[in-house]
Amino acid sequence: MTDEAVVRVDSVSVRYHQNLVVDRVSFTVARGAVYALLGRNGAGKSSLIRCLLGLQRPTSGQVFVFGEDVWRHRARLLGRTAYVPEACDAPGQLRVRDVVAFYKSMYPAWEESAVRDRLARIGVSESATVAALSKGQRALFTLALALGSKPELLVLDDPTLGLDVVARNDFFSDFIGELADRGTTVILTTHDLAGVEGIANRVGILQGAHLALDEEVEQMKLERGQSLEQVFTDITRVSGRLP
């Protein structure tokens, strides 16, 4: 199997007024890889994630997904990509079944029964409104929706933020199961370094609007002899200033 780049970020910059949050960042994510994008709060991760999905246009540079410019071909490319946002983005007044029906109409290869099973497992009733779900249920619901489309690329923005231990375990079970079953390419941002250390095989650290590090995890740990958390702390503790 050729080692093609599922995602190629090509000298992307993101600027808001005077504030340059991402400065000519480039990296690639190979098929089947699990890429962890790390950085302190406000480092520009979410902006970069949005650029990856064609949700936001970079100030300069381009993002290629499956070989095509994602800003220009967003609708087509997102048929093969799934997004798990930090917080569930479905309108709170909608019922679970309405959201599922909406997703089903969006994705031709929707796995109706698998999604149903997952929802039953989480304990989410189809007639419940999204707003009525607990935080943990909502996170698992969002993941279930994302996985239901059988995506080739999965993008997650801090998916376990604020989840309790049990919910987090359930999340990783589903997530790892997906990786095992389909070898999905994954890009995720997180603060849970310890939790993700075993799963990510490549890591990028955003610091000072640059990609201060972009390496294979194994390689990095071998060379530095440090855990991911230690490497991260070293690189991002620049001026000692809290973000």
Binding site: I176, G177, L179, E197, A200, K221, R224, G225, S227
Partner: protein, 143 residues
Amino acid sequence: MPTPRKDAWSDRIPVQPSDPRPIWSQIEEGLRRLLASSALAPGDPVPSVRELATDLRVNPATVSKAYQRLVGAGLLEVRRGDGTYVSATPPAVRKSEQTRLIRQAAMNFASLAITHGAELKTARESLEQAWEELSSNRRGDGR
């Protein structure tokens, strides 16, 4: 009667993601230890890649890699449609290969001990203790 807790593989194969050693290596080593101590007997099923990865919370590809190496080393075998099992027959390793492996491990052990300032006597005692432990597991449980 309370449902017996299923033995979590994460207890039996201690994997530390923060440990600098590659995870596949930790898994491999852990499985080898289980095999060595007869916690896993020939013909026993080993967990699926999915199961072990979920339990250990590691990338399935990593588990896959460890398994592949063990299969390559003849310690595990894949039965089509059935799963992965401990090899019924231990691998026939050439004597020379065996010697080389043991020599290599001994060299690692020795260099570790020396750099930590241990004496040969202490090292020899530790080795004998470990051997005793593993052998007793093998003998004792009568699995």
